[in-house]
Amino acid sequence: MNAFAFRACVAASAVALAGICAPAAAQLGNPAGWAPTTMADPPGKPAPNRTNVQDELFVQLASAGDRFEIQASELALQKSGNDGIKDFAQRMKQAHSDTSAKLASIAQAANVPVSKSTPPDDQATLERLKSLDGDGFDSAYLQAQLVAHQKAAQLLIWEAGQGQNGDLQRYAAAALVDVLAHMEAIQRLLAEHTTVGKQGLATR
C-alpha cells in the first residue's frame, strides 16, 4: 500500500469509528445462557455492570491481545525496514494502546480483572519475531498480524453476541469495525509483500 492509500485507509477507519461510537441499544440476549447468579431488574434486564463468564473471559483474552499487538508492533518499529509495515505498526501501537485503556476502564467499572500475563502462544510468536530480521521478520510479522486480527475479530463477534455486560458488548461491536479495517490493511500489505493475490476484505 502506498502512503496515500494508507492515509486514506486510516481516515476511513476513523470515520467508521466515529459512526459506530453513537450510543447503541443494549443487546437483547438469550437468558438461557445467563449465569445463575445474574441479578435481573426488571426481569429480562441484567442489572448494570453485571457480567457473565463470557464477559470475564473476553476481558482476559482481549486485554492480552492488545498487549501482544503493542509488543509485536514495537518490535516491527525497531526491526522492519519497510515503510509501509512501519506505518502500519505505528498505527497498531496507537490503536491498541487506545483500546487497551478503554477496555481497562470498562473492566474496572464492572469489577472484572484484565490479563496480567502474556499467553504462551503470544510469547512464542514474540520470541520468534525477536529471532528474525529483514524479509523474514516482515513476513512473520504480517502473518502473525493476520492471525492475531482473525482471532480478535472472532473474539469480538463472540462477545457482541454472547456477552451480557452492555458496555463490554458495545465496546466489542465498535472495536470489531476497526479490527476489520486493520485486517484489510494487513491483507493489502501481505499482497504487496508476498506478491501473491489479495485475500479477504482486500479483494473488494
Binding site: 438469550n30 437468558p31 445467563w34 426481569p43 502462544d121 492471525v147 472472532q154 457482541a160 479483494t203
Partner: protein, 468 residues
C-alpha cells in the same frame, strides 16, 4: 549420510517459517462456545420469565428496523394473483432510499463511492433475525393457528414472534402441483397438509412409498427450540416440528431461521424458507452447503435438529436417524414429485411463447437474456438455475462488521442460485428474505451489477418475472 544431512538442513531452512507457524496453530483455541452452543444455566421458568419480559422490546426493535428499511404497506399489483388464486402479488419497490438519493442517482455511483458515503439502502443489506442471540425457527401466525387447531401442537415461541406482515408472505395454504398427476392441477383442496389429514387428501393420488415419505415429512421430531428440555422456547414440552411446518404444502410459509453454516452465533445470517417446488430439478441443496442430493439433505437435517449445524446440542434433545434405504428414500421420493406451478406462457424449453406473451413480457425476456444479465445464472432451459453458487460481493457497497439488532453482517460469500420458476409465489426474496417484492429485486440487481436499466426496462423485466 552427508547428502541426507544437506537435504535435511535445506528443508529445515526453507520451512522454518512454516514450522514456526505450526507452533502458533497449536496454541490456545478461542472459547468453546464460539463454535458449540452453550449449555443452559438457568431453570426453564426463569428463562421464560426473562424472555417474556423482553419480548415486547424485541418485537418493537424489529418493527422499527423493518419500518426504517421498507415500505410495508399492502399495495397489490391489480389483477395479479399467486398461483392458487388466494393472495395478491405485491407491487412497487419497497426498499427505502437514503435521504436525497434516487435509484437513478445511485446507479451513477461506483461501489466505492456508495460504500464511503454510506448510501447503500439499508434494505439491500442482510436482514437480521428477529432474535439473533437465540435464533431458531419462527413461524408465521397462520401456521401457528392452523397447527394448533388441527394437531393441538404449539408452534408459538415465548421469546419472539414472526416479524413480517401477512400480505408480504406466500399464500396460505399454498396449492400443490404434482409431476406425477399434472392433469389434476392443485391437489391441496385448499387445506394445509398435516399429520391429521394427509392420508385423506393424498390417498389414491400418490404411491405407498410416497405416502410413507409424506407421513414422515409431517411427523414432528425434536428441534432446538421445540423439544422437551429446559433449552426450548415454547411454553409446553413439545413433540417438535415437522419438515412441512416451514415448507407448508411443500412450498414456503416464509418461516425463517438462522443459517446452520456459520459461527459465532452473531454472524449467522437469516434464512427464509425456500419452496420445495421443482426440487427434482435441483442438483445442489442448502444455500451454502451444496449437498449433492435431496436424500443427503433430508437425512442430515434430522441429525442436527433442523438447520443449526449442531449435532451435539441436537443429541441432547432427541435425534431422529431415519433409515437411509427406506425412510430417507421415501421422504425424498415424495418431495421429488412436487412440481412448479403452471406457467402457461412458457414453452417446453423455458422460452416465452410469442403467441401468448405480451410485447412487454417479450421485451422483458430479451432483457433477462441480455442487458439484465439474469440468464447468466438463471438459465431458462434448466428451470432458471445453474446448479452452482455465486458471490455477488455486496460488501463492495457497504462497510461490513456493523452490529444491527445483535446481528453482525459479514460478507455473504457464495450463495446457491435459486430457481425463478413460480417466483411471484415466494416473497420475500433472496436467501434471507431481505427484499419484499420482485420490483425490489430488479432495483437490487440493477445497482449491484451496474446494469443502468431504464424505468421502461425495469417494468418489462418485472412483467416477465410475473409469468415465470
Amino acid at each position: 549420510m552427508n547428502r541426507k544431512f544437506a537435504l535435511c538442513a535445506g528443508t529445515t531452512a526453507a520451512t522454518a517459517f512454516a514450522v514456526a507457524l505450526a507452533v502458533d496453530a497449536g496454541a490456545d483455541p478461542l472459547p468453546p462456545d464460539t463454535t458449540y452452543r452453550p449449555l443452559p444455566t438457568l431453570p426453564f421458568s426463569t428463562v421464560r420469565q426473562h424472555d417474556e419480559a423482553m419480548k415486547p422490546e424485541v418485537m418493537e426493535r424489529q418493527r422499527a428496523l423493518l419500518n426504517q428499511r421498507y415500505d410495508l404497506s399492502d399495495r397489490p399489483i391489480p389483477g395479479v394473483m399467486m398461483s392458487g388464486g388466494r393472495k395478491a402479488v405485491q407491487a412497487g419497490v419497497r426498499v427505502k432510499l437514503p435521504q436525497g438519493a434516487t435509484w437513478e442517482s445511485l446507479a451513477e455511483l461506483s461501489p466505492q463511492e456508495i460504500r464511503e458515503r454510506g448510501l447503500l439502502p439499508d434494505g439491500f443489506k442482510p436482514l437480521p433475525h428477529v432474535k439473533q442471540t437465540a435464533g431458531g425457527q419462527i413461524f408465521p401466525q397462520q401456521q401457528i393457528d392452523t397447527i394448533q387447531q388441527m394437531e393441538q401442537r404449539d408452534l408459538r415461541r415465548f421469546d419472539a414472534d414472526f416479524d413480517l406482515p401477512a400480505h408480504l408472505t406466500p399464500e396460505f395454504p399454498p396449492p400443490i402441483f404434482l409431476t406425477t398427476r399434472p392433469e389434476l392441477g392443485d391437489v391441496s383442496r385448499g387445506q394445509l397438509l398435516t399429520i391429521r389429514n394427509f392420508y385423506e387428501i393424498m390417498n389414491g393420488i400418490v404411491t405407498p412409498v410416497q405416502m410413507e415419505g409424506l407421513r414422515l415429512l409431517l411427523t414432528p421430531f425434536p428441534q432446538e427450540e421445540f423439544n422437551q428440555t429446559e433449552d426450548r422456547k415454547v411454553a409446553q414440552q413439545s413433540l417438535g416440528v415437522t419438515c412441512l411446518d416451514c415448507h407448508s404444502n411443500f412450498h414456503s410459509n416464509a418461516a425463517f431461521h438462522l443459517t446452520p453454516d456459520l459461527r459465532p452465533q452473531a454472524v449467522r445470517f437469516r434464512l427464509d424458507t425456500p419452496s420445495l417446488r421443482g426440487v427434482f430439478a435441483q442438483q445442489i441443496h442448502g444455500s451454502k452447503r451444496s449437498l449433492r442430493s435431496l436424500e443427503d439433505f433430508t437425512e442430515f437435517e434430522q441429525r442436527t435438529a433442523y438447520f443449526n449445524g449442531d449435532h451435539v446440542s441436537a443429541t441432547r434433545k432427541g435425534v431422529h436417524l431415519p433409515d437411509r434405504a427406506n425412510q430417507v428414500a421415501m421422504m425424498a421420493q415424495m418431495q421429488n414429485i412436487i412440481d412448479f406451478p403452471p406457467a402457461p406462457k412458457l414453452d417446453p424449453g423455458g422460452a416465452l411463447n410469442p403467441a401468448l406473451a405480451t410485447q412487454q413480457e417479450l421485451e422483458g425476456e430479451a432483457l433477462f437474456m441480455g442487458k439484465g444479465r439474469c440468464a447468466e445464472c438463471h438459465l431458462p432451459q434448466t428451470a432458471f438455475m445453474d446448479q452452482t453458487m455465486h458471490d455477488l460481493k455486496l460488501e463492495r457497497f457497504y462497510k461490513t462488521g456493523a452490529t444491527v439488532n445483535d446481528f453482525i453482517a459479514i460478507p455473504d460469500g457464495p450463495i446457491k442460485t435459486f430457481t425463478l420458476r413460480g417466483i411471484k409465489d415466494t416473497p420475500p426474496y433472496m436467501h434471507d428474505g431481505r427484499l419484499m417484492t420482485l420490483a425490489d429485486t430488479v432495483e437490487f440487481f440493477n445497482l449491484i451489477l451496474g446494469l443502468k436499466l431504464t424505468q421502461q426496462e425495469k417494468d418489462a423485466l418485472l412483467a416477465y418475472l410475473l409469468v415465470l
